[in-house]
């Protein structure tokens, strides 16, 4: 994979040599404005539904291994 990544980076490096001084970067093509909505409570995904796909749901939460191996 090291060789593959180097090959890709060599190709990508071509744009490093372009003179793009003063060109504005584009992060997004649609001109977006911030839109606000009323801050009102709305129904959301029920807790059980959100937890259902988890590998190890437990007591209404996501269970994970201990952060410390010997804890």
């Amino acid at each position: 994979m090291v060789g593959e990544l180097s090959g890709i980076l060599d190709h990508v490096d071509r744009i490093g040599k372009l003179d793009l001084e003063g060109v504005e970067p584009t992060s997004h093509v649609v001109a977006l404005e911030n839109v606000l909505r009323a801050d009102e409570p709305r129904p959301s995904l029920p807790r059980e539904a959100a937890l259902a796909p988890a590998p190890e749901p437990l007591d209404g939460a996501f269970r994970v291994p201990s952060p410390q191996a010997d804890a």
Binding site: P25, S27, A69
Partner: protein, 480 residues
């Protein structure tokens, strides 16, 4: 039964609406066809379509093959990845809900390159999809299952996604119509994110009219996706018969770009067809387009590296069983769950975003993106459309490019610039060509790009050209 499967979506909806055929009968016929999938196009198929509540709408009773990147409530959704094996989303994507509301039904979920990263469908964790024209060849990607399903007679129409060509290129390689709408035309809510500034959803269909029908059902503003704006005025069935008064720009750079002789021949024949219909061919310049691949393979992996951080074995999908602690669980889940191409792009993306390299890669790529968008803006000041071949080659052999990721990436050469500019583009089948090295004649796609939100105009031109070309070849059949 065979007759039902020959109908276009538009013709089927008309017969269902008039009562000539029933929605259940039509759905059952397609379920039977899909069950005979020998192309590995489907990852999951609906078990029983009957007894399902069908909404009254313009797509009443129409089965849709949905790329497995769209969340479908209660049905498996893997995005072609081991890391989402067994995941059944608690909600459906807006695109799927809109199809439902129009009366359509999900027929199955289609195979794809893992997280939509690929141009051959060989990066799926669930095995490659075979091209119905030649089973030793790829269907293209990443929406390879969707394209193969439509071309192979396993679905009347399909939903796909396109980040750098993932609808148009497989449509081209499979001889069907694929439309990437303007960025913002269709909601991406519930569509698993790859590169958020580029991802867009769109239809893969047997003809342009069906693409218009699906686009109208799909497009619109969605409060759940702040980037969705919809298409003002909506979309109607195209009916244009000529191309009089329309100017088609051919990038001058095409003269020195390398692509297969057969593709060039079909492309030039199609330009002659445009002129015969009264359209005018003009040369335009897209000087920055040649850097599109470089910019794309910085921007898309950078965004992907961030988007894919969420797959950590905590909230959904698989979790590695072997980990002793939390950090090891994250690491082994990702090491076991992601395939090589996804890992490659995550590494490229994090590298491009790392401090010290950010300006040289990510910043520079964003500026190239500006230049490419400007190239298109300059072109559209002179012409109505920009046209290119969709793909530099016809469908290539399975395994042919898997050892060389860069040559795989270069397959997106003609489709990536439109994605970076966020503009709509369609691929329509324009003819057949013999692959380099010989073999069965295979479909060649013709790409037409238009200014942002000019989908109606794009569909009208594509329709007129489609009628004139009269492409009616079928996989396994003669040239027709």
């Amino acid at each position: 039964m065979a007759d039902l499967l020959e109908l276009s979506v538009a013709a089927a909806t008309a017969r269902i609406a008039s009562g000539e055929i029933s929605a259940d009968e039509y759905f059952a016929a397609w379920r039977g066809a899909a069950a005979g999938d020998e192309l590995n196009a489907y990852l999951w198929q609906v078990e029983d379509g009957n007894g399902y509540e069908i909404a009254e709408g313009p797509l009443k009773g129409i089965p849709v093959a949905v790329k497995d990147i769209f969340c479908t409530e209660g049905s498996p959704t893997t995005a072609g990845s081991r890391i989402l094996e067994g995941y059944r989303p608690p909600y459906s994507a807006t695109a799927v809900r809109r199809l439902d509301a129009a009366g359509a039904r999900v027929l199955g979920k289609t195979n794809m390159d893992e997280f939509a990263m690929g141009s051959s469908n060989e990066n799926s964790a669930y095995g490659p999809v075979l091209n119905p024209w030649d089973r030793g060849r790829v269907p293209g990607g990443s929406s390879g299952g969707s394209a193969a399903a439509v071309a192979g007679g396993l679905a009347p129409c399909a939903l796909g996604t396109d980040t750098g060509g993932s609808i148009r290129q497989p449509a081209s390689l499979c001889g069907i119509v694929g439309l990437k709408p303007t960025y913002g035309a269709i909601s991406r809510y519930g569509m698993i994110a790859f590169a958020s500034s580029l991802d867009q959803c769109g239809p893969l269909t047997r003809d342009v009219t069906d693409a218009a029908l699906l686009l109208e059902a799909l497009q619109g503003r969605d409060p759940l996706d702040s980037t969705s704006v919809g298409i003002e005025g909506g979309i109607v069935a195209p009916s244009r018969e000529d191309l009089k008064g329309l100017r088609f720009g051919v990038p001058g750079e095409l003269a020195r770009d390398s692509f297969e002789a057969g593709v060039r021949e079909v492309f030039e024949r199609t330009l002659a067809e445009i002129e015969r219909l009264g359209g005018e061919i003009a040369e335009v310049a897209l000087p920055s387009a040649e850097h599109g691949i470089s910019a794309y393979y910085v921007l898309a992996p950078a965004e992907a590296s961030s988007n894919l951080a969420r797959y950590d074995g905590v909230r959904y999908g698989m979790r590695s069983e072997s980990a002793a602690d939390l950090l090891e669980m994250y690491e082994t889940t990702r090491a076991e769950g992601f395939g090589p191409e996804v890992k490659r792009r995550i590494m490229l993306g994090t590298y491009a975003l790392s401090s010290g390299y950010y300006d040289a890669y990510y910043g520079q790529a964003q500026k190239v993106r500006t230049r490419i968008a400007e190239d298109f803006a300059d072109s559209f000041a002179k012409v109505d459309f920009v046209v290119t071949p969709t793909s530099p080659s016809v469908a290539f052999g399975l395994g042919e490019k898997t050892d060389d990721p860069l040559s795989m990436y270069l397959n997106d050469f003609f489709t990536v610039p439109m994605s970076l500019a966020g503009i709509p583009a369609i691929s329509i089948p324009a003819g057949l060509a013999e692959p380099e090295g010989g073999g069965t004649r295979l479909p060649v796609g013709f790409q037409i790009a238009a200014p942002a939100f000019a989908e109606q105009k794009l569909l009208e031109a594509a329709y007129a050209l489609e009628q004139a070309i009269g492409f009616d070849a079928k996989p396994g059949g003669g040239d027709g």
